[in-house]
Each structure stands twice: as C-alpha cells, then as structure tokens.
C-alpha cells in the first residue's frame, strides 16, 4: 500500500491492490488503559475493572472491553484508508477470546478483493487480532467504500 493517508484524506482505488497487507498495529494492554476506557465509554462492567469480582468468574481475572480491542482494528483501517474508512467503513467481527491486562495484541489485515457496484469500488478486507501466544482474539472482515 501507499503511505498512510491523513484522517481527512480519502484513498483512491489506484492507491491499493488485491493482496496488499494493511499496516499492522501492536498494542500492550494494561489495567490502567482498561480503567480509562471504562470512564470514557461509561461501561463499568465489573468483569473489566473489579479484580476481586473477575477472579471469581471462569475468566479468572479482569479482561479488556471487547470494544477497546476493536479500536485497534479501527486504527489499522484508519491508517490504511483515512477518511474513506471513517465515513464509508463497515466492520463485522467476532470476539473469539478475551484480552487480559499485560497481553500484547497484534492486529493485522489484508485486502482480499475489490468489487465494483454501479461503478463504485468496495474494498473487502480480512482482519485478525492475536495475542502474544498467537491465539486469535478477534476475527472478521471489513468493507470500505471508496468515493
């Protein structure tokens, strides 16, 4: 792919090719960031922020909000497609495993195909988030409509 576009810049179909890898994003998850996310989103579910409560559940400890990890996917898509993602993106994912504090999450993706509907290009991408053990945390796909 070409250089990372600015947030207010759209991507043209001539900038991309089928098979291109998307710019990967690597993040380290901490309890501090999970707590901050709870405050920002208003989601204070104890499974995320109450270590004593979470320790008694089958998960064995606090876990990151799924939407926090999903933000890493959106960051990758924003780096790849700029404004085209922010106002023309579709995301469909499944959470396969929890992400724990101290996990390192690597988000990767690639362009599977480019379809045209009524002359408008739609970019189909596959994506995945894995932890440091290689376990899949999120899997799914995204479609970006290019203007």
């Amino acid at each position: 792919m070409r250089e990372v576009p600015a947030l207010n810049e759209s991507v043209k179909v001539s900038d991309i090719r089928q098979g291109d890898s998307l710019p990967s994003v690597v993040k380290h998850v901490t309890q501090r960031e999970i707590n901050l996310y709870a405050e920002a989103s208003g989601d204070f579910n104890p499974i995320h922020i109450d270590e004593a409560f979470a320790a008694e559940t089958p998960l064995g400890g606090t876990i990151a909000h799924g939407m926090l990890i999903l933000a890493y996917v959106s960051e990758m898509m924003t780096k790849a497609f700029g404004k085209s993602w922010l106002e023309g993106g579709k995301l469909s994912i499944r959470f396969k495993a929890p992400a724990y504090p101290q996990d390192t999450i690597t988000t990767t993706g690639k362009i599977d195909s480019i379809d045209y509907k009524e002359g408008v290009p739609y970019v189909n991408c596959s994506l995945e988030c894995c932890n440091q053990k290689g376990e899949v945390v999120i899997t799914g796909g995204a479609v970006v409509k290019l203007q």
Binding site: A6, L7, N8, K27, E33, I34, L36, Y37, E39, A40, S41, G42, D43, N45, P46, I47, F53, T57, P58, I63, H65, G66, M67, L68, L70, A71, Y72, S74, E75, T78, K79, K83, W85, L86, E87, G88, G89, K90, L91, S92, I93, R94, F95, P98
Partner: protein
C-alpha cells in the same frame, strides 16, 4: 460520557421482548471524553487536531447508552459486532442513539441478546448503524 436522558427504571433484559424498541437516548462526546478515549486505546491524536470523533468511540457510547436502558448480570461480555460508519462526527456533538432487541438466543449456559443500534447527529442524519451481540452468563 454524559447520558442526558437515561431511564432510571431499569428492567431486566429478560422482561424485554424481541422487537422492543428503546427510547432515544442522547449523549455528548466532549473533547475531554474523546481525549480520554484516545488515551485508553492509544489512538491517533490527529482526531483531536482535526476535531473528529473516532467512529468506534461513537459506537461504544451508543452501546453503553442502550445498555443503560436495561440490566444485564455483571460479567456479561460482547460476543460479536457489526458496524457501518456513515458520517464523520465532530467533537462536541450530541448524538441520539436508538435501537431494538433484534434477537434472543440460548446456547448451552450462555444467553445471547442481539441489539440493533443506530446513532443520529443533531440534524437527525444517521452517523452509525450496527448490531451488537451480548453474551450473558447463565
């Protein structure tokens, strides 16, 4: 996130039938909320410079706003998400969020509730649509 019209009388999700439509709930995404969100996700600070809200911040607050209309047991988690980002949302915007209970399923000891969600800007234009499936422990 500042929920401006949340309903104080929470009912259990079990009492809400499939097809139940949530009343519109409004929330403001201020610069301080967006700043905290970006710090939490380690996100691009360009959003603050350009005055744009990351679309997943809009989605996260929309889900929270809807979830505040009913109670689920602590320990419930998200199982899957589908989102479509339709329009840029400027920082400071007040978003109205609505939706309905699209489906309820039971899989073993898990109960799944699928919510359909949409968010509107101040001009009543759709900025986001999607589905969120919440897994509730038995």
């Amino acid at each position: 996130m500042k929920n401006q019209e949340s309903d104080s009388s929470l009912v259990s999700f079990e009492q809400l039938p499939v097809g139940y439509e949530f009343p519109l709930s409004s929330y403001e995404l201020s610069r301080s909320v967006v700043s905290k969100y970006l710090e939490a996700v380690g996100g691009q600070q360009d959003f603050l410079t350009l005055g744009i809200i990351p679309p997943l911040a809009v989605a996260a607050c929309a889900i929270t706003a809807l979830s505040q209309s009913f109670s689920v047991p602590p320990g419930s988690i998200h199982a899957s998400q589908d989102f479509e980002f339709l329009k840029l949302v400027p920082i400071g915007a007040t978003i109205s969020c609505g939706g309905k209970i699209a489906q309820k399923l039971e899989r073993g000891r898990l109960r799944l509730v699928m919510l359909e969600i949409h968010a509107l800007n101040q001009d009543q234009e759709r900025v986001l649509a999607g589905k969120a499936t919440i897994a509730i422990p038995g």
